[in-house]
Assembly symmetry: C2
Homo-oligomer: 373 residues x 2
């Protein structure tokens, strides 16, 4: 069952609706990867892309945990949004309890959702924000708290769209009138409420009439570049070429890359940045070739509670991700593997962060702190 | 139809036979990827590995061109050996011609085989060596020339085994008693007459009792690391872990790589080195982390006729290599790609070359020249 892509959630306010329509008419990049539908969440199951566009209706918190774990929904901001809706799904049927009893369930659900993926901080950020709201409303009737949680989930979702748009508009200023841009993984509409983070910069540069061409890293092992980013850029009509991850060095050496833009799963207080495995390598190559290396980072992905990248947990994923592709076995049986999903790029390799509050340049420890003061 | 791996070609001389037996008993890495069988060549069709060990009998030069082009046989030294046998297959049925007529066919076959893959110089090296022999024997009867070509092909094959063994024995001295070694692509018995080049260093370090562990880059797009190197190391019982190519930076940053060893498809006179795409990136990362970066290079892969890496042609291969895997489509239809099979690592990023004449250190322009004087 397919949903028309222009479908507008019934629940958005009049103001949001106007903005939403404006947004829709401005861009061809309006893929809605997550949508609230009356009493459940509808996501695009990204594991089927680009072959098939399969929608998946999620009606309880366990289904969402599974969807996040299996990367049906992925991308740090999108995970945050998905978890927020899932929080509501988790609490909505709790009946006849005291606040104390309700709170026990709230903590359980928060810990459970938090365990789905360890690296992206947006997940924890969304869960903490909801838990705070629940605490603030502790004197209110449980039903009222539940409704507030749903409203907050929708707010987080709508906010993310606005934030991504701002990142795109701010970030595109850094892109020259003609540019070859290299990007890694998927940071587009599929990874966020809309537009994306790093990809939002690219979409907005394109819409501003800049003559850009994108090198899309395929992004092993799960091919978010070839499956998702190539798909989004193709839909938006932006010139691009797909390359294997290890071609990036050759491209830079040949003078074919003017800048690199990536997203992030978590930024530490000093600017160290966790992102999809391979990002660190790109940052070293960028440094060796004098190429600007930009990280698009909504404030929700900046974790002032961790001092440096050493404190960011790095998720290790199943070996089958690198020993099989689409059912095809590509390695001998029982082979040992090491499959970290992320790496950490040290702050000194990063030219600037692009946030919804503008472009942040070094010194990062000082300038990131200012964002939250 | 399978051949026992201990099968000894009928045609080797007594001396070679003894050496061959010695070699066989010394190592578990005695995979024979190419074998001359009376009137044809038998190769392991590497495109089926590691799933199935399929042998392919090659009876004419067109079949070999196809096998080289499609990477059924691959690895610079193995391509040289395969082309040498194919040269004989191409000339053996030429009947009743003058030397002048024979020579026209010889040139045609040489050009034809040479066109199968442009980057590896071993191919051209083997073809030129045979053409020179034919020219030297131009006064002899055609049948005698044919027999000499077959003998020369067998000699090139046997020489390669000895060369690879020497590279292994010399190179293993550079490997510490305990070491984490990273390698890229496949440079083992499958890529050569036997043992391999970079992998020969690893096999011989293991046999010398060194406590080594190998990080095997999967090597997109064609997975020579996961399909072939992992298979060879697994058979040899050498501890290893398979990683995606873009995990290399993370491994080095984490202090988990002590040295990098790779092979080469062509070394220019100044030491610039063409090898599998991704090698250049590894060399930049090695430099950034102070890790030795070694290139195992038989003399047949050193091309003193090209001054620098700028003069080495880089093969671009079909986009299907990066848009599909084992029949699974992993990118949108009609997407643009860029798929260079090789890149060039500048001489200054290389710690040393390991050749059959020993370890060559900088200055390379001077020291490589000495090898041929």
């Amino acid at each position: 069952m397919h949903t028309p892509r222009q479908h507008i959630p019934e629940t958005v306010t009049a103001l949001t609706l106007i903005e939403f329509n404006l947004v829709m008419s401005e861009t061809t990049t309006a893929i809605q990867s997550i949508e609230w539908r009356e009493d459940h969440v509808r996501i695009i199951d990204q594991t089927f892309l680009p072959g098939r566009t399969v929608y998946c209706d999620i009606r309880d918190v366990g289904q969402m945990w599974d969807a996040i774990k299996k990367l049906k929904v992925r991308g740090a901001p999108a995970i945050g949004i998905a978890a927020a809706y899932a929080f509501y799904l988790g609490i909505k049927d709790i009946q006849d309890v005291s606040y104390a009893g309700f709170k026990i369930e709230v903590d359980r659900i928060s810990n459970y959702l938090s365990s789905s993926r360890p690296t992206a901080i947006n997940l924890k950020w969304a869960l903490d924000r909801i838990a705070s709201t629940i605490h603030a409303l502790r004197e209110k009737p449980i039903d009222e708290i539940k409704e507030s949680v749903l409203r907050l989930a929708k707010t987080i979702h709508e906010e993310d769209k606005r934030i991504c748009k701002k990142i795109g508009l701010e970030g595109q200023k850094l892109i020259p009138k003609e540019a070859n841009i290299l990007t890694h993984c998927n940071t587009g509409s599929l990874a966020t409420g809309q537009y994306g983070t790093a990809l939002s910069m690219i979409f907005h540069a394109h819409e501003a009439g800049k003559k850009i061409h994108v090198w899309v890293d395929e992004t092993r092992p799960l091919m978010q570049g070839s499956r998702l980013t190539a798909w989004e850029l193709d839909k938006a009509g932006i010139p691009m070429k797909l390359v294997i991850d290890s071609a990036a060095g050759h491209l830079m050496k040949s003078g074919k890359v003017d800048l690199i833009v990536v997203g992030t799963d978590r930024v530490a207080a000093n600017g160290d940045t966790a992102n999809k495995i391979g990002t660190y390598t790109l940052s070293v190559l960028a440094g060796a070739h004098g190429i600007p290396f930009y990280v698009a980072a909504p404030l929700s992905s900046i974790d002032m509670a961790v001092a440096t990248g050493d404190d960011i947990p790095i998720e290790e994923r199943d070996s089958s991700e690198i020993t099989t592709i689409g059912g095809t076995k590509i390695a001998p049986k029982r082979i040992d593997t090491f499959n970290p999903a992320f790496d950490v790029t040290p702050a000194e390799n990063i030219t600037a962060f692009i946030t919804e509050k503008g472009v942040i340049k070094p010194p990062f420890t000082e300038n990131l702190k200012k964002l939250f003061s």
